[in-house]
């Protein structure tokens, strides 16, 4: 297995405040990795740093090539999609336009059209709402839309920021089922940031635990899940 995304000594800053203190981790090609930790640990910042949306130092390599100082849109074009915190819905546009925007960097019209149909098959509720203003969707529907929009890029790496946030348990299961499916069928490498550790560890192959901007534990997801000390002191279940 080779590393798809390789992060070395990643530091991030908001103004004068340092939020990440030298993270090292890598995402194996085709695997699911989860980044766990409490509120304010730096999970969201890590995702923002990968897409260069916060001031960073260190190196981030994608397929062995550095992407650290590329613009956000350039990084996205390479095939790194992100479902941001707060879902990033284009509230004034309708559902289908949101999906179109997900594929805005692609040129293959026919492929885009068939992918939209595929998204409707994965998330049937979106099909019912296709002409509705996206801002009027429920939280769960917007979360599905956000995942679908990210998939419209046909990404090689998918970064997700708390996909379970604010969702009903049943909806959460649906979303995670889709993630499992696209990881299995499309070989998309996934990095998922979660507060719901139990859920994320079920999906993930590899796990990292982050605390105040530093990685404090790492290992195969099953090991982390079965280690009672880690569970009690960091994951709270």
């Amino acid at each position: 297995m080779t590393a798809s995304l390789n992060v070395r000594d990643l530091r991030a800053y908001y103004g004068q405040v340092q939020a990440l203190h030298g993270l090292n981790f890598s995402l194996e090609e085709g695997s699911v990795t989860t980044l766990l930790g409490a509120n304010g640990a730096g999970k969201t910042t890590t995702l923002r740093a990968i897409c260069n949306m916060v001031r960073t130092t260190g190196t981030i390599e994608f397929d062995g090539k550095p992407i650290t100082h590329m613009s956000t849109e350039h990084i996205v074009k390479l095939g790194i999609a992100q479902v941001p915190q707060g879902r990033g819905t284009f509230t004034r546009m309708n559902v289908e336009e949101n999906l179109q925007l997900g594929a805005i960097t692609r040129g293959d019209k026919a492929g885009i059209a068939s992918d939209i149909e595929r998204m409707y098959a994965l998330f049937p509720v979106l099909k019912q709402r296709r002409t509705q203003q996206a801002g009027l969707l429920s939280g769960g529907e917007q979360q599905m839309l956000a995942v679908a929009r990210a998939l419209m890029l046909r990404p090689r790496v998918l970064l997700l920021d708390e996909p379970s946030f604010g969702l009903a348990p049943l909806v959460v299961r649906d979303v995670f089922k889709v993630l499992e499916q696209i990881n299995r069928d499309d070989k998309v490498t996934i990095l998922v940031v979660e507060q719901n550790a139990q859920l994320a560890l079920e999906l993930a192959d590899q796990a990292y635990v982050i605390e105040t901007g530093e990685i404090v534990q790492s290992g195969p997801a099953a090991e982390i899940a079965s280690n009672e000390d880690i569970r009690k002191s960091y994951l709270g279940y």
Binding site: C51, M53, S71, T72, E73, V76, K77, A81, Q82, P84, G88, T89, F90, T91, R92, M93, E97, Q100, L101, G102, I104, T105, Q133, G135, L136, R149, L153
Partner: protein, 291 residues
């Protein structure tokens, strides 16, 4: 009754000017998410440019196209040079920038072309229609406005660039995350708005004549039309422009004591009244606000 009909029709004729400008206002609002106070002056400058080309012997449509294309380029250049560096400043600072741009363009136009009123040609002639309430130029202007509206509707609804521009204006962070080059989309928005402004100016100039201050009142009415119609809706803005024209005319005719001087305040008061009850304008989409 005939007086009423005539007043409505002539209101529609003046309204066409406002509709034209309102459309340009909404355009830039879609592209940069706020109003550009210098837009009228940019349109005025474009109109002078077209006039200058004609003075140099270029035929009407040649001058028209040349002016629109140059305005498009100038709009992009202004954004890149003056407003991109202010991208992180507060909205209030950007408004100060618009005011400064207003002063600069107005002053430079005055220096180049002086402040005397100049007639401006029309390709539609000036035959009176419908018993003289509307001229063929005004009819042509209405047609051009509607055509432009159709073009914009298609552009924003069905093209990828149009979609990306709307995304960049309303949700820049999310737009970047789907790979939209937000900076260029905003510049493109300025270019488009400047080009539409040029068309509006060239259409309006035969009615109100050409001079550096020609756009002051028109822009205000354009704003009002756009806001009345709802800033998020190009068609609403055009409708708003026509409504303002008609209201202004009717207020001048039917409300006693209202001379020419008070037409504007009364129209504005009515519009504020509308806004109080429909804060997003008559045709605007309801803004969804989440905490």
């Amino acid at each position: 009754m005939e007086l009423f009909t005539n007043q409505v029709l002539s209101g529609i004729a003046t309204g066409a000017i406002y509709a034209c400008m309102a459309l340009a206002v909404v355009m830039i609002y879609e592209a940069i998410d706020h109003l550009n106070f210098a837009q009228g002056e940019m349109a005025m400058f474009s109109t002078f440019a077209a006039w200058q080309f004609m003075q140099w012997g270029i035929p009407y449509w040649g001058a028209f196209v040349l002016s629109v294309v140059l305005s498009f380029a100038a709009g992009i250049a202004i954004e890149r040079a003056l407003f991109r560096p202010l991208g992180h400043a507060s909205v209030l600072v950007q408004i100060a920038g618009f005011i400064a741009l207003f002063a600069i363009i107005n002053s430079v136009a005055g220096l180049i072309w002086d402040f005397t009123i100049k007639p401006f040609p029309t390709p539609f002639g000036s035959t009176p229609l419908l018993g003289g309430v509307i001229s063929s130029h005004q009819a042509g202007m209405i047609a051009v406005t509607i055509l432009l509206l159709g073009f914009l509707y298609v552009f924003f609804s069905f093209t990828r660039v149009g979609l990306a521009m709307r995304a960049a204006a309303t949700m820049p962070e999310s737009a970047k995350l789907v790979g939209v080059n937000v900076g260029w989309m905003i510049a493109l928005g300025w270019g488009l708005a400047a080009a539409i402004g040029a068309i509006a100016g060239i259409m309006i100039a035969p009615v109100i004549f050409l001079e550096p201050n020609m756009m002051g009142g028109v822009l205000l009415y354009g704003f009002v039309g756009a806001v009345l119609g709802g800033l998020s809706s190009p068609a609403g803005a055009v409708a708003g422009g026509f409504i303002v024209g008609v209201l202004e005319n009717l207020a001048g005719t039917y409300i006693p004591g209202v001379g020419n001087e008070l037409k504007l305040p009364i129209a504005l008061a009515m519009i504020i009244a509308v806004l109080v009850f429909k804060p997003n304008g008559l045709f605007g989409r309801v803004q969804v606000q989440r905490v």
